[in-house]
Amino acid sequence: MSESTREKLRAFVLEKTESAIADLTDQTHLFENGILKSIQVMDLILFVEEISGQEIDVEGLKPGAFKNIDTIMKNFCENRDEK
């Protein structure tokens, strides 16, 4: 069975982080907790565009849209694997 979008997202975060993560959950705040650095937000957006197949309108971004894996799934990937 192929990797789900959510699993791809988790794998991306774990690959990119420079922090020692004991327990990354889908609710862990990716930037506030320093899991990802602000400079990596562009990489994250490009990756989400790739796995969701949708272009993201940067000007239309709302606060918290990339807060954690749950919000990313809800905002950008809902119609991929999950509702």
Binding site: I39, Q40, V41, M42
Partner: protein, 283 residues
């Protein structure tokens, strides 16, 4: 033109008389808040090294704002030639005899110097300081007191944990709120982003949209006279500001001095007699 303000060249204004006195009085208020926060005052140089600004990706984020400090190479023959042959053109420009390498920028924001000052230091408690700087930002157009090439900025800066910085910013914002209420200024706090160059391709701009870190105190719905900025660990990372091995956050509250003068004039008129009286002890 407002009494007490004179234009010397596009972007460059002088202030004198009652307006300058008002500037000093307002600054005394901001300084008193710094004292309440046990923040010592620093005076920093007018220039910043390009190597320090480059660590902040300043030249990719704000190339449109930067003003470089340029000096001639110390070559005796070239200096003699320049002293003799230099010529200011009709358009007001002066051609330099060579293209000197640039090492410094005229300060674009007062607080940057604080991170340079404390580079590599470890802080066991919040470090709060204040400074006032003459700042330089190139703009597309200029308006006296409101959008100047050279302007004055008073800042109070905090280096600490994320919680400590947020507590500092909330406390500072409270002081400002109490003061503007007493003055009767028509202002509101609004979320804002920094004026990035080519913002859509700048991760820092995108990050500011996703995680608002800047609030501006906007006068009459059009003019930001102060701002609070939560830098997260941005400067802590760039200048190795730490506690127990962990990178610290930083934040600042900044006051655009000339813009406060403009807010006063637009609210209460040009006659100082009509300005609301305030003293440090009243606040």
């Amino acid at each position: 033109m407002i009494t007490g303000v004179s234009e010397h060249a596009p972007g460059l204004w002088a202030i004198h008389g009652s307006l300058l006195e008002l500037d000093h009085q307002l600054d005394a208020i901001f300084l008193s808040w710094a004292r309440e926060l046990n923040a010592p005052e620093y005076r920093f140089p007018q220039f910043l090294a390009v190597q320090h600004l480059d660590r902040l990706q300043y030249f990719s984020s704000f190339p449109h704002l930067v003003t470089f400090a340029v000096s001639l190479d110390r070559d005796e023959e070239e200096l003699k030639r320049f002293a003799k042959e230099h010529e200011v053109s009709a358009d007001g420009s002066l051609e330099l005899p060579m293209a000197p390498r640039v090492t410094h920028v005229v300060t674009p924001a007062a607080c940057y110097h604080a991170y340079v000052e404390f580079e590599g230091q470890e802080f066991n408690e919040p470090k709060i300081i204040t400074t006032r700087g003459t700042c330089c930002r190139r703009e597309d157009y200029y308006v006296g007191l409101e959008r100047q090439w050279i302007f004055s900025m008073r800042e109070i800066v905090c280096i600490g944990t994320s919680e400590e910085v947020q507590t500092f910013l909330a406390e500072a914002q409270e002081k400002v709120d109490r003061f503007v209420r007493e003055l009767g200024l028509n202002v509101t706090w609004e979320g804002a982003t920094d004026p990035f160059f080519n913002p859509k391709n700048n991760p820092k701009y995108i990050f500011q949209k996703l995680d608002p870190v800047k609030q501006e105190l906007v006068f009459d719905g059009r003019l930001a006279i102060a701002s609070t900025n939560d830098h997260r660990s941005y400067f802590g990372d760039a200048f190795q500001l730490t506690r127990d091995g962990q990178t610290l956050s930083s934040g600042c509250i900044a006051f655009g001095m000339e813009r406060w003068l403009s807010a006063f004039v637009h609210s209460f008129g040009e006659d100082p007699e009509s300005w609301p009286a305030f003293k440090v002890s009243d606040v």
